[in-house]
Subunit: 358 residues, 2 copies
């Protein structure tokens, strides 16, 4: 490839297969919290491959308001969704409810024969995530987990470069993902993200999962063991981890050192150091990933227009459904994160390195 | 302070006390490896507070050649040094021999009543480092450990900012220090840095000590426990750690996630994330530290001329000797690193978080 190609093709949709289809996939959006309303709805309006078929909320009023704003066919309560109302208005289900309720909505989607795009983390525990995978498998519906990093061009180029040996042998990964949840999402201290039962944790399961999963994706390798430390000095984080630092050993020998916080200065970084080079995303995980590549004394910092990750994620999923191909980050892939997260939480309790169940 | 002051005073010697003295401290440089010859000798030529009084080497030829080049008074073999020859030619002793021999040279320096500036790591084990502290204490000679980061202006400004609350409560530290020892220092695979007996380890004790010690310095806090993973796939690292990732919990609650490698793409970074801001050194530990400060959505990247850290370190030590004040990173300070490093090596063996002995 010429250098011009590297720049011209940086943001290419290298995953796209169903380019000659003008079909669209109609989604039922389940859970109309800030992420769905602020991030997903605008992304889908900008998509030429997806449509909003139904809006599903615990608040009938919110569903109706958003239906009127978006021109979607249906507004449904959770009860109506579970009862299969409006099932003709959508082809697939996007689940963005509190983590502990992903399973029940996936069960209904599977019963209705609808493909499932489930937000990360999959559920609050590996056991519930396993059940979620089972119900989709048993019903024969496709399941993808919403790892938006997988469709970020800078992350994909990083993965390409690791695969082609740009850094030599990868040896060390560093990653961070921090935000102030009260500024980033909602000032409400009673939000579900701080409720252990509904969220299954906080800094690690909600944010640490970004560097963890990106390491797996970029390295093409899975964790064998992990350890970590959590801390929750702030009163609003009494039941969940406010801050976490953790270390993961991968089956290719690479080790990763990561931090995450739900109540700190916003920032995210991700790097892979190898025997002959280094790749850095800075920032990494807030949708505007920028890549710097280094080898020896030479470095190049790419500056590319950020893509809308949510649009890319939905379009990728739609592409896979239209082409009748399996989506990339599937349930089995997501399960590995859930088991690693449980290993890190266990390590934080016991002080011991914990093997990740395979 | 005005913004102009922040820039004008960035590289100020805020540690300087003996400004009206025109005395100079004459050093015996013990161990004439690459660091002494390439880094320290040029630094001392540039100093107006230090002089080279004697050059001490296992190679008489090397000592004589460097004496002739520098105009120093004496060239001494190790045997001559231990026998107290040329003792009138120097006031203080700089020890930059293989780690396992620091103690014996410190013992002689103490016997001769000379102040000691000992390179990091202090020795190959905490037990030998303790003995090193004892011999200096018993002889009443001053002992400083050569943590050059302590006199780096960017590191000092970072510490000032943490102290004055710029980041709110500090919560997470990230750090890395990687190099290819065969390109950075010497291509010789038989060098002492890869010999477990002489070096006491490699990636962690030689390089990981930078983010570890800088975290302690910037946070004003010491480790309570640590865990880590080491790996040595390359044949030349059979007896020592080639790569390390580790995690340290500090007594103020902060946790740090760090990586280091003796055989990887060169690079170093260090950051402190707090509840209200973030401070980043990038690069951090190769003498050209540059500071970026962030609060909320605002950031400022300082770009300052790098200082010669070795000159600053020797001048600082000379300043303390001339002012008859104790130097900052003393033996007790260095011991904490040695104990933390041993805890991390133990954790890498056992898989358990290890308390750091106090």
């Amino acid at each position: 490839m010429t250098l011009a190609d590297h720049l011209d093709d940086f943001t290419r949709r290298d995953w796209e297969t169903a380019t000659d289809s003008d079909e669209r996939v109609r989604f039922a959006l389940v859970g109309l919290g800030w992420f769905t309303t602020e991030m997903v709805v605008p992304a889908l309006r900008d998509s030429d491959r997806c449509e909003i078929g139904a809006l599903v909320s615990g608040s009938a009023e919110k569903a109706v308001r958003l239906r009127d704003e978006t021109g979607a066919a249906r507004a449904l309560s959770y009860e109506e969704f579970h009862a299969g109302e409006g099932v003709d208005a959508y082809d697939a289900v996007y689940i963005a409810t509190p983590n502990a309720t992903h399973l029940e909505f996936a069960e209904t989607a599977a019963d209705l024969g609808k493909a499932v795009l489930c937000e990360k983390p999959m559920e609050v525990s590996a056991a519930r995530a396993e059940r979620l995978v089972e119900v989709c498998d048993e019903a024969g519906v496709q399941l993808m987990v919403g790892y938006r990093m997988h469709v970020n061009p800078a992350v994909r180029r990083m993965r390409d470069l690791v695969r082609e040996g740009f850094v030599g042998d990868p040896v060390l990964v560093e990653g961070s993902m921090c935000q102030n949840v009260f500024e980033q999402i909602t000032p409400d201290p009673n939000q579900w993200r701080l409720d252990a039962d509904l969220a299954g944790g906080s800094a690690l399961i909600d944010l640490g999962i970004y560097p963890l999963n990106t390491a797996r994706f970029v390295l093409d390798s899975d964790p064998v063991s992990a350890q970590g430390t959590t801390r929750s000095p702030h009163e609003h984080f009494a039941g969940v981890d406010q801050h976490v630092s953790f270390e993961v050993a991968f089956d290719n020998g690479v080790t990763a050192a990561c931090v995450a916080s739900q109540y700190a200065q916003k920032g995210s970084e991700f790097s892979v150091t190898g025997t002959e080079g280094k790749l850095t995303l800075s920032p990494a995980f807030f949708g505007e990933a920028q890549l710097t590549v280094e080898r020896g004394d030479a470095a190049a910092a790419f500056s590319v227009a950020p893509v809308n990750e949510e649009r890319e994620e939905f379009d990728y999923f739609a592409d896979r459904l239209l082409a009748d191909r399996d989506p990339g980050p599937d349930g089995a892939h997501g399960l590995v994160d859930m088991r690693t997260i449980e290993a890190i939480y266990e390590s934080a309790e016991t002080g011991e390195r914990v093997a990740v169940e395979r």
